[in-house]
Symmetry: C2
Subunit: 230 residues, 2 copies
DNA sequence: TCAAAAGTGTTCTGTTTACACCCATGG
DNA sequence: CCATGGGTGTAAACAGAACACTTTTGA
């Protein structure tokens, strides 16, 4: 703009692609869309878009998510920049991947038609265009690390949830079965949960206690982090 | 190129900036240069350069390192993309930061004049231009994580080194004193070191055993990772 | 009355931390 | 002969893993 010191340097297109993880109280899922423009029109893809001159990457990622799903104020985190020269056959494009976490049930979409988008089980996702498959892999391992390092349920669970739903979330992120007694003990020792008097009677005949996160304690733990073995 | 599907999208300059960590058998250091072009000419900066059309970011980072220091075949890892709209006052530039690890003594520089570049103690580094300070902070915390998660000495130490030098490396990365007995026990239990019959007689009257990494075991551990409490 | 899922504590094992003395050598 | 830094093991505390039975209630 102002001064043009870098006049002779190459410019490129910068995209953002979003790996959107959702949880429906049972399973961890991935939001994919059918791409409606060339190249690769009609194939499954992450949602994405291009960085504009007047916004930073975090803003671009939020805008892309908002435009395509109607959601805003969603937890997002920058993942990695993908830059293989031929990653997009149409034109040289570098893509910065972001991942987002949302609770599927409390966010119904305004912006997405069901025939062009869908939630997929991680293990049953279709092949993706370009290098989007690599992005998803990296996002999964980042999410796994997050789960052992910072609290994460807040973004993926409804306001009130049962201990077993929280455990199911961890089990699907880590892709392994956990012992319920150890899980309860360990999670309680983190001291971020409030046990309510209320029970959710839909999940079992006996019912199951509902919990909430204590937002202050939770946010403090997000700052500090922890290290958690499960 | 070929098809121009994205014709109307904004293009930007993409830079890479390199955080170069070095170790001189005693302390962890940071390589900085005095910038020799505008803007911010004469101020301390990370080394950097622009992505070219025909290379990916890893290649650009390696080229920048090679051009400015003469070094190649150096461990580098992508860190984060920095994209604040006004981060570079001259022109809209997104920068992807990389960090590199090198053993200072076995890599003497061909490309860098001493008056325009220097190794700085992490705590005594001068203020840096733009957002380079943030980059360094993030690199330090990434390096800290690496040290607890994958073996790292290979890149930062000479071929043969003493247990105490290895410990000094960890102490300067983690910025805390470690107990030497516990350190030896823990590191040996990783099973990546070979103890040589040779001693380094320069470090103490008694001399100190030299060690080497077992490259195969080391590389296997880099793949697997580990979790290490120090 | 029984099937289904929830809730709950203890023991054992392995890991981490804390800690102090002797050794070899060069000056 | 002594000052310097290197080398080595054990005990106590803590954290993680394994494990089984009782409760509630809707059908």
């Amino acid at each position: 703009m102002a001064l043009n010191y870098y006049k002779k340097e190459d410019k490129v297109l910068l995209a953002v692609d979003c790996i959107i993880f959702g949880f429906d109280k049972k399973n961890l899922k991935l939001l994919l869309v059918k791409r409606n423009f060339e190249p690769e029109k009609g194939n499954w893809s992450l949602i994405g878009g291009f960085l504009k001159k007047d916004e930073n990457l975090d803003e671009a990622a939020a805008r892309v998510l908002q435009t395509l799903t109607g959601l805003n104020n969603i937890y997002m985190e920058q993942l990695y920049a993908y830059s293989m020269v031929d990653r997009d056959p149409a034109e040289r494009t570098i893509s910065v991947a972001y991942f987002a976490l949302i609770d599927i049930e409390s966010h119904q979409f305004e912006g997405v038609q069901l025939d062009t988008a869908g939630w997929f089980d991680l293990k049953k996702a279709p092949p993706l265009i370009f290098d989007h498959g690599m992005m998803v892999e990296k996002a999964v391992s980042r999410l796994r690390r997050r789960a052992l390092t910072k609290p994460i349920g807040f973004e993926l669970l409804p306001e009130k949830f049962t201990m077993r739903q929280l455990q199911a979330l961890y089990e699907s992120i880590l892709d392994k079965k956990l012992d319920k007694r150890n899980f309860v003990n360990k999670f309680n020792s983190l001291d971020v949960l409030v046990k309510l008097d209320e029970k959710d009677m839909t999940v079992a005949r006996k019912g199951a206690y509902l919990y909430q996160f204590d937002k202050d304690k939770y946010d403090r733990k997000v700052e500090e982090g922890f290290s958690f073995k499960l």
